[in-house]
Amino acid sequence: MILDSKIPEGPLAEKWTNHKFNVKLVNPANKRKYDVIVVGTGLAGASAAASLAELGYNVKAFCFQDSPRRAHSIAAQGGINAAKNYQNDGDSVYRLFYDTIKGGDYRAREGNVYRLAQVSVNIIDQCVAQGVPFAREYGGLLANRSFGGAQVSRTFYAKGQTGQQLLLGAYSALSRQVANGKVKLYPRTEMMDVVMVDGKARGIVTRNLITGAIESHSAHAVLLCTGGYGNVFFLSTNAMGSNVTAAWRAHKKGAYFANPSFTQIHPTCIPVSGDHQSKLTLMSESLRNDGRVWVPATVETAEKLRKGLIKVNDIKEEDRDYYLERKYPSFGNLVPRDVASRNAKYVCDEGRGVNETGEAVFLDFRDAIKRDGEATIKAKYGNLFDMYQQITGDNPYQVPMMIYPAVHYTMGGLWVDYNLMTTIPGLYALGEANFSDHGANRLGASALMQGLADGYFVAPYTIGDYLAQNPNDRISTDHPEFQKAEKEVSDRLQKLLSIKGDKTVDYYHKKLGKIMWDYCGMARTAEGLTKAKAMIKELKKEFWTNVNVLGANEELNQSLEKANRVADFIELGELMVDDALSRNESCGGHFREEYQTPEGEALRDDENFAFVSAWKYLGEGLEEELNKEPLVFENVKLTQRSYK
């Protein structure tokens, strides 16, 4: 199949405007005849569901949490980018576009990214109108800050809880449509499969997480807004429930999966403290604005520190290595996430890590406190410092924080065209669930922007275009395709319940996570990836013969929920390894040790790898087929990223 990205013709700046004019429209009176399913109620899902309902479509919104407001978008701390140029510091739509393309190491589509930068300004307007309490200056206008990797202040924020406030804004819009009767809400309901009729997505099969009931829902279009799959690593900053199941089931039904190995490792997370660890906690990247990253200059000092022979505050200035400031004088501590993460790994691999496990570096506020006073630092980061102290028991006003990179975001996802439609007609993917806008590395404060751009401003146009070209007849869920899908789902769950082996689901999840982190994490090699592939295959076999899932389907059963998700993570893990193995270059978050500059920076191969890898599922046990969507750059010149 030839992947048609459907990028509109014309100059970059006019593509979206032209496209909006060219899309077909559904007559207002006919909109109520169309049903749309939205899976997931995070920023992308809630905003899309609300916007589509406002237009007049009938929307069914699903989430596995007990309320739409719990979606993991809520945990984003730092902020949301928008090319408002309110600060008069030289920002523009083009600059945001350029920064995003460059930050993504030139592995994203120009057209998509430009559109993202364009609608970013509308997002802020929309959120403010909803009553999102963004931070403000004394004059009453909106405040901005600069954020990881950007040299302009274009990030809007609401304390350290920007994701929460944006999500609650979208949730309020969604709630309004629930009250209007245009959205029917299905909380504690998990999507189990996509149902296709005549080659088009026409509905989904779900499991009611309270009763276990397997149910079908039919519609004219299905939107997957189900977030990322970072939990394939077991330990990540994702919520415990975040999973790939919806996207993976769609993939197995024919939706291509793009760039699965592009994962973002966030540099500022609280280090792992022991085997019991269930998840990792992110400390906002904004901390790097004032905190200085360092490790001891020598392995000997680091060893003494790890053994508790010396205290961190006793280490003299000349014995400290502020390695980011040393290597990247112009960006310093604010280098993009992938660069910061990789350098933390390097210094720890050298044996200069600072905690007991040897996998941590310092993020020090001593100088900032000296410069601005404790009160100022407290006003900026008070809640983050409190959170850190709550988790670690250390007081960051007195001793430096310890941080280490952790899996945070997945740039890969379902392949979508410019309209956000997957390779299955009528099936869309929005937000982190798709692959589209961040290339091989996402810039800070851009995830919120993309989720809301897709949901508020892109999907409402492009879905109308699809629906206008399709009849509004409804399909009964008695249709054989629904019946077949329901049976497959039930059979699979029964199979999981009937294995009755002797290892828990978490046992396998942890094992998978370790394989992924060791071989498909911050640095990858062909050798390691080949090894990982064999290990995952073995793990999959063992899982399906020896996992122990307790209880029955017909009840609230968290083991069954987990087992169902982990089974999909294992399959995804294998694909991620395949993808990493096939991409013989380093770009952004994908770092192959074989491909690096003499200074240890990612070495892209634009000649051979300037494409999107889109994987097609061919069947159980078969290798997936790699399809390539060439990336054409007409407006930016591909350069080696340099943050020196």
């Binding site: 945990a75 009553g131 009453g140 929460q164 403290s273 660890q277 709550q390």
Partner: protein, 249 residues
């Protein structure tokens, strides 16, 4: 450390339920409370016993999904969420009692899992500004004094966990409801629907079967986000000025 856990077990919504005791050993003080329960559940699962069901998701203290009434306090002894509570708050040999949130409007679904959809319905009754996507003015069109924006943000921080209801001796949801009413009453964007919002949200709160406020302040003391009962006073003002002056009869 070694601990004794007294945990509420209830098969489903109709089951009567009761406490069950579990011994758990070798708990590190760096564990979070939920990780301690993970360890218990791994042990139970390995033994073939049904693991303890509890709600949790982000484990960063922001999604509001985790609950648990621990040793007589919602979210345990500290003013934080259960997921951010660490075992260093307990001592070796402690007995820890764990119960679900208790309220008529929060029926128990299984073990420690309760249904908080009543909160969603309160928001649906008016916790929004009725603007459609698109066609809104520029974000800097309406200046908002920093102090007002900050106050609105303080109220907006509510994570909807329900600790206020759990803590209140009357199972009242006034802190939750007032936080949203306050946020939107403070901001210029919320003015248009200010009256109808207060009336409808209070009516829905009552319809859900939450109790009345007796100003004990327990909600504020237990709220993991430190939402102030000043918001309740504001809600009272909003509500009465609305019923006395609105043109809805």
């Amino acid at each position: 450390m070694n601990l004794t856990l007294k945990i509420w077990r209830q098969k489903n919504n109709t089951d009567k339920g009761g406490f069950k005791e579990y011994k758990i050993t070798d708990i590190s003080e760096d564990m979070s409370f939920l990780e301690m329960l993970d360890v218990l559940n791994e042990q139970l699962s390995t033994k073939g016993e049904d693991p303890v069901h509890f709600d949790h998701d982000c484990r960063e203290g922001i999604c509001g999904m985790c609950s648990l009434y621990i040793n007589g306090n919602p979210h345990g002894p500290q003013q934080t969420t259960t997921c951010q509570l660490h075992m260093r708050s307990f001592k070796d040999g402690d007995t820890i009692s764990i119960e679900p949130w208790r309220a008529k409007a929060f029926p128990v679904l299984k073990d420690l899992v309760v249904d908080r959809s009543s909160f969603d319905r309160i928001i649906q009754a008016g916790g929004y500004v009725s603007v459609n996507t698109g066609g809104v003015p520029d974000a800097n069109e309406i200046p908002i004094p920093k102090s007002i924006a900050d106050l609105a943000m303080d109220a907006a921080q509510c994570i909807g966990c329900g600790a206020c209801v759990a803590a209140c001796k009357n199972a009242s949801a006034m802190l939750f409801t007032s936080a949203k009413i306050s946020q939107l009453a403070l901001l210029p964007q919320g003015q248009v629907e200010r009256k109808i919002r207060a009336e409808n949200m209070v009516a829905q709160m009552d319809a859900e079967g939450f109790g009345a406020c007796t100003n004990t302040g327990a909600c504020e003391a237990e709220c993991p986000k430190g939402i102030s009962i000043t918001n309740i006073a504001r809600m009272n003002r909003e509500y009465f000025s609305a019923v006395l002056s609105s043109d809805t009869v």
